[in-house]
């Protein structure tokens, strides 16, 4: 199981609808609006790094209003 934070930038004025839409995607644990260089921070999980990448590209990035996502996989050092 791979977990990750996904830092999202949205089009102006779209942050709250993006957070709400992303929070309903399977594998997404939490999606919250934040201030700063990112607009929404998501916590998600998938079986593998490839599955995580596919979830980001095929599901999360399809949400209207997202301009950039930055995936940060959690590592257990």
């Amino acid at each position: 199981m791979v977990q990750a934070y996904i830092l999202i930038q949205t089009e102006v004025g779209k942050a709250s609808t993006v957070a709400e839409s992303v929070s309903k995607i399977a594998g997404v644990i939490q999606a919250e609006d934040v201030t700063g260089p990112y607009d929404v921070i998501v916590r998600a999980q998938a079986d593998t790094v490839d599955a995580l990448g596919r979830m980001v590209v095929a599901r999360i990035q399809q949400v209207d209003g997202i301009t950039r996502t930055l995936t940060c996989p959690v590592v257990h050092l």
Copy 2:
């Protein structure tokens, strides 16, 4: 009361109209054009962090020509 600087990037050629429009929004104290990585720097205030976030998303980001905003809340350490 929460105060903040809001660093704004605009579409090319829109900096001065953005500054003028943003300066009329309730809660905005000052909005000025600058050179460098940002195009307009705004000083604003609201009752809470949530109210500040809502002002940025619901009022400032609705101004035509804004591409990114970066909210930097003032903290009293």
Copy 3:
């Protein structure tokens, strides 16, 4: 109550000890190692933005090995 994500960059080789030390600070809910432009992502909470700012400067930034922190307050839009 204000909640925030704190994105941390560490000195090379210090990520895991930073995450472990930060996770013991009062107000820190979770601290995890990640890959990408940040090394540790922290979830924290405090009574106000000022208290959050003081926690970051007075407690988290005192942890040996941290070079930059980026505080992203959660907002409820």
Copy 4:
């Protein structure tokens, strides 16, 4: 007369002492601690761009704890 915002990054744990020291420099109008990618935001003025550049290098950057400054001159478009 040239006015500018100066966005400052500090060493971890030094934000409040930097803001206090910078606020005493001639030509500095205001210096405040903020959260986000910058730690202190300064408002300053000088007679010319060259004088502003010299103030930043010769006075502000001499303050202990500053790691980077980013000068954004105000422009009247």
Copy 5:
């Protein structure tokens, strides 16, 4: 002969089609999807720096879905 890594950012949802299209361009050795601040990393080669620049602008940047490219020429120190 000049070799280079080309770090590509794509529109959301376009990473895999970009990588596939870029991999067919003459001079491109490899094109792979990655997570993080970049979406696709390409390895390419050309006869000169100018030829490399032309390949990036005239061929790679013509691929639908690319928003930014960052060319990093390999140097032998």
Copy 6:
């Protein structure tokens, strides 16, 4: 007299036409295509910082294909 470097990012595939168009603007001394995070670097001059800001917004940013400009005034320390 104020001189400045203006670091320009363009839409993909537009770098050379941008450089050519910008080089014809009054006050522009030189405009060249480069590789790296910027696509065109311009050397320009104007009577004052305000005049420089106006040249960037009213003339340079009107050139089709420019997405961001970063003005770096030359200072004599």
Copy 7:
């Protein structure tokens, strides 16, 4: 098996010795000097994301002269 590009920034003047040292680490396939925002680009592989994270922190970041690493795992979409 997880593969990744690791984008490395080094202290000034250390790029070539860093590339040489990193290229000898088990799991590193290639390490080359580049120009641009990064100084060395590495191709590496490990059994899992966690093993990759440990290799970066425990082996690569121990190389003298490295100031930042940015790990970009390859994903198969």
Copy 8:
């Protein structure tokens, strides 16, 4: 012949001495202090990309007070 702009960040307070020292290096055409995210912008030339890379690492980066250099080769598209 390869020409390049080299964008330099310096330690705080070192910009003018860095510009002066760099301007004396063989192959450097001009070195000027600027405000903004970079502190000194250099124009240089060398016979090849490799020679340019060696000049940056072996000569320019040896100048005391430089923390980062970003080389942007000029390309003729």
